[in-house]
Amino acid sequence: MSVLVYTESEQGAFKKIAFEVASYAKAVANQLGTTVTAVTINADNTNELSNYGVDKVLSIVHSQLDSFNAKSYAEAIQQAAEKEGAKVIVVSASANSKYMSPFLAVGLQAGYVSNVVAAPTSLSPFVIKRSAFTNKAFELTQINTEIKIIGISSNSFGLVENKSDATKEAFSPTLSENTIKVESVDKATDKVTIADADIVVSGGRGLKGPENWGMIEELANILGAATACSKPVSDLGWRPHSEHVGQTGKPVASNLYIAIGISGAIQHLAGINASKVKVVINTDPEAPFFKAADYGVVGDAFEVVPTLIEKLKAFKAQQ
């Protein structure tokens, strides 16, 4: 009856969101008066989960799960859930979890709610708060099924430390044949990805041309941030499409979003306003982005950003 949480890893190492979903699962388990069981797939150092309130680890090690496959991952987690008799399952909003969870929901005949931003507001009926209308509103959603799958939005709950003493058990699921074959993967490994980043530094058309991105990258480097851009910037070929954020690009739910030379059009904001803190640097005090921002600097990016870089370097050196 424990709360089951799928704690994701990549090449054996847990992703940060694994600890966030575990923190969330612990909060729900406390509400329900039960324990937390984490399912891991080919993860190495499962002890780390004991920092976030996990009581038991079901450790799956399987060569068919070396590279991600939605159906096989769903089968593995479904079998773990059945074995534990879990009624509440917590997953993240990563691309992989969003790919897999609808299969899991069908397999377990479970109600699945994605983009959840807070712990359940009521347990009976089971009601949960999720974001909707591209973050322009929240919906309180009731889950009617016996088994419930909660997909939480990144950085919405945060990490909550809770020391526990997790026991570990090996678990070996039965998997059907994989019908989707990965031919090739094209992924920059040396860069922070927008999905994983705590901080995103984003540039718009106000930066005038691709040759001016050096300062954006430098700022991102100092902050350990991912770089992003507005849609026209990728359409003009100044930056790769993978950096395009907004309603038609990648969604951003970082802790800090720094927008430089971006006007703040509604389609841009729709994709980034799940970010916690927004900083805007723009020459135009009337730019709509200032209405959506927490902090703002009215000024020329070509002056503000280099100064900010110098000052941040000094700040980081002191830390």
Partner: protein
């Protein structure tokens, strides 16, 4: 090849989002509804398969009579036939259940959906259709070629992309990239005239469980005013981000 394109009918992004009946209903007053942007990319790709490979394209929506203009628009863009399942779209599961029935009855080889709808942003219908019909599934699809029952698809992954191969029947959830934005089609006069002659079939829903129900809506708390920092005082910005916002 028989293609089914699932179209959701959503408020245009620039719409004001308001609620009525004590915050339990979305206020459609003055809201313009459009083909879900992610579905537009899929529909355009379907047109390509129709023109280059002779595919037959059906569009489908689960919804009330108010969604018919959206389906007519898809017919005007070039789909051959439309189906409306006459029931309000309540939750992802029940919608997927209706669509799975259409897929099975129509013997479709390829089902094209969008990665998510921009109203409820569930992102669950496509995977559920695949789960219910036991079809192969590629999410966040940004490239698709099909030859002799074999599909080559590119999907977006965190930090990059991945090329996969699989077989039909297949469900893909598309997004920008599946076709270029400049290739998106808008209906022309001829298309609009022709659409009037094309079949739009209304089908009654099958029995389905509703897994989740909407209780009420809330708007985010009004944002406090932006704190402006002078451009010659960036130390203050760093201090605010460090001590007040605690993000650096």
């Amino acid at each position: 090849m028989k293609i089914l394109v699932c179209i959701s009918h959503v408020p245009d992004t620039t719409s004001k989002i308001n609620f009525t009946e004590n915050n339990t209903k979305f206020d459609t007053n003055g809201v313009q509804f459009v083909i879900n942007p992610n579905d537009e990319f899929g529909l355009t790709r379907a047109m390509w398969f129709k023109e280059k490979q002779g595919a037959n394209v059906t569009v489908v929506n689960v919804g009330g009579p108010e969604t018919e203009p959206t389906l007519r628009k898809a017919l005007a863009i070039g789909a051959d036939a439309a189906i409306r399942i006459n029931t309000p779209a309540t939750d992802g599961f029940s919608v997927a259940k209706q669509l799975a029935k259409v897929v099975e009855d129509g013997d479709f080889d390829l089902v094209i959906t969008g990665r998510e709808s921009i109203d409820y942003n569930g992102g669950m219908v496509p995977g559920m259709i695949a789960g219910l019909t036991n079809m192969n599934f590629v999410n966040k699809c940004i490239g698709l070629e099909i030859n002799g029952g074999i599909a080559q698809a590119v999907r977006e992954i965190d930090g990059g992309k991945e090329t996969v191969s699989t077989t039909l029947p297949l469900v893909v959830a598309g997004q920008k990239g599946l076709v270029e934005e400049s290739d998106l089609r808008i209906p022309n006069m001829r298309g609009i005239m022709m659409a009037r002659q094309k079949p739009l079939t209304i089908t009654e829903p099958i029995e389905s469980k509703v897994h989740t129900t909407s209780v009420s809506y809330e708007k985010p708390a009004p944002k406090g005013a932006v704190k402006l920092v002078a451009s010659d005082n960036l130390d203050e910005l760093i201090d605010l981000l460090h001590t007040e916002a605690k993000v650096i």
